[in-house]
Amino acid sequence: MSEHAIDSRELTRRFGDFTAVNAITFHVEQGEVFGFLGANGAGKTTAMRMLIGLLVPTSGSATVAGFDISSQAEQVRRRIGYMSQRFSLYEDLTVQENITLYGGIYGVSNRDIVTRTGEILTRIGLQDAGKELVREIPLGWKQQLAFCVALLHRPGIVFLDEPTGGVDPITRRRFWELIYEAAAEGTSVLVTTHYLDEAEYCNRISIMVDGAIAAMGTPAEVRSRHGAATLDEVFLRLTRPGAAA
């Protein structure tokens, strides 16, 4: 059993002739914030779908929270949190109902749901909003709430798929402070983003190009290895050759 939160070895997924994810090998440590970067279509989403047990790999293997993603997908799903920009909360339910629903699905006891609801709402400053419909609260709060809901069952690892798209710069930073706090408590975080300044907030990053990992390391290592002042520069250089389409 791997001691890493995620351990991926030569993980590969093909769709017909197309290799969406090409033998990626990497690991994420306990309490680490890992930035999973790449251009649109580079294979990030396919890789993430395999790691959360929604897609079977063509070859290679990975363990998440110590469980094999192919043969133990159910155990994996129970131990992870997931938040995507597109779908995360039910707009027609109240804040409280969303928390209760997710808590129930993940088997959190009623008593724990009550205490954790209080903690969550205080943490993000939504104490008085428990009875409000999610549709009515501002986008920035929705995203922070979605993040806390993804952590409700205290998963060891949380996957965040572009969690900060479109929000104002202050909310974006509050969101990252929630990520740091979760990591400081030992939760591992794998996050994708289009904001390259956010990649600097990660302990380590990988940059995917055409299904493979083209660069990996701490942000400072990646920058210095490519002789670039910013990650933006590294990203453009790595993805430029295949940028025509």
């Binding site: 929000v167 904001y195 942000p219």
Partner: protein, 313 residues
């Protein structure tokens, strides 16, 4: 018709129920200018654009585009402006060439007549001309939408969040294309939630909660930052963040890439003096390996400053 400003609005207001999506918005876009409206989701950018392209009526105030009133002269304006809405709105089941031909026919023109106008974009799209629009990558979809917005050779272009959700490489290519269109004298009004795209514009307005916070050249906005701003590096980020926020003169402390940006509350102390004080404070707090430097503010620093200064409506 002659006109002084490509776009001119005075006190535009638009409400949806009790919410003011636009709250007294006044701005001017000069002929040939690349003008950016920068703000997060829900700040009112799309409402502003929909009024300017004659698809939505204001509750109060007035707007003229190319010297024409957006309410009274809407019919005349519609053939003269190009509009690319924020949501992908082409036909996914039609090919690239069919979409373009369709939009040309709507405006009673042909793709051939528009060839010169769309040449730089078409060059990149042509290899995919028979591909279904729905099967294009995000970046190519946006280029096709731009091409369709240009096919009737408009006199002004409105682009609502053309680069949202598009990766960094495609975003850069898209802005390169806008630069070329601008060089040909076409006024362009473009909105974006990405602060780093401000530097591509001649002038920008920062928008939040239906209001323009500030309007200026992108470089000027940073220079007008009214307080000492310092970059603080090193140490464990959460601990450092907490310590800096407890410093009695701290106005704001936020993570910024590989550093923290510290804004001081005082406007009458030099950045260098603030840096020395802060260094002494950090030392006394027992935080090791920290470096502090005065820096120039960027658009994002300014946006965050004005966001907090502006009393919530």
């Amino acid at each position: 018709m002659t006109y002084e400003h490509a776009v001119e609005t005075e006190g535009l207001v638009r409400r949806f129920g009790d919410d003011a999506a636009l709250d007294q918005v006044s701005l001017q876009v000069e002929p040939g200018e690349l003008y950016g409206v920068i703000g997060p989701d829900g700040s009112g950018k799309t409402t502003l654009f929909r009024i300017l392209v004659t698809l939505l009526l204001p509750d109060a105030g007035a707007a003229r585009v190319l010297g024409r009133d957006v309410v009274r002269d809407f019919w005349d304006l519609r053939t003269r402006l190009g509009y690319m809405p924020g949501r992908f709105s082409l036909y996914p089941d039609l090919s690239v060439a069919e979409n373009l031909g369709f939009f040309a026919s709507l405006f009673d023109t042909t793709v051939a007549e528009a060839r010169d106008t769309i040449a730089p974009i078409w060059l990149q799209l042509e290899p995919f001309s028979s591909r279904r629009a729905g099967a294009l990558s995000g970046g190519m979809k946006q280029k096709l939408a731009l091409c369709c917005a240009l096919v009737h050779r408009p006199e002004i272009l409105f682009l609502d969040e053309p680069t949202t959700g598009v990766d960094a490489v495609s975003r850069k290519e898209f802005w390169d294309l806008l630069g070329r269109l601008k060089d040909e004298g076409l006024p362009i009004v473009v909105s974006t939630p990405y602060m780093d795209e401000a530097s591509r514009c001649d002038r920008v307005s920062l928008m939040q909660q239906g209001k323009l916070l500030v309007t200026d050249r992108p470089g000027e906005i940073g220079r007008r930052y009214p307080r000492p701003l310092l970059a603080v590096r090193g140490g464990q980020i959460l601990g450092l963040l907490g310590a800096l926020r407890r410093f009695p003169h701290a106005a704001a402390v936020w993570p910024f890439g590989d550093s923290l940006h510290y804004t001081d509350r005082r406007s009458d102390v030099s950045p260098e003096a603030v840096a020395r004080e802060l260094m002494a404070y950090v030392d006394s707090a027992g935080l090791a390996g920290v470096s502090i430097q005065p820096i120039a503010a960027g658009i994002e620093d300014a946006f965050m400053w004005y966001m907090v200064q502006e009393p919530a409506a």
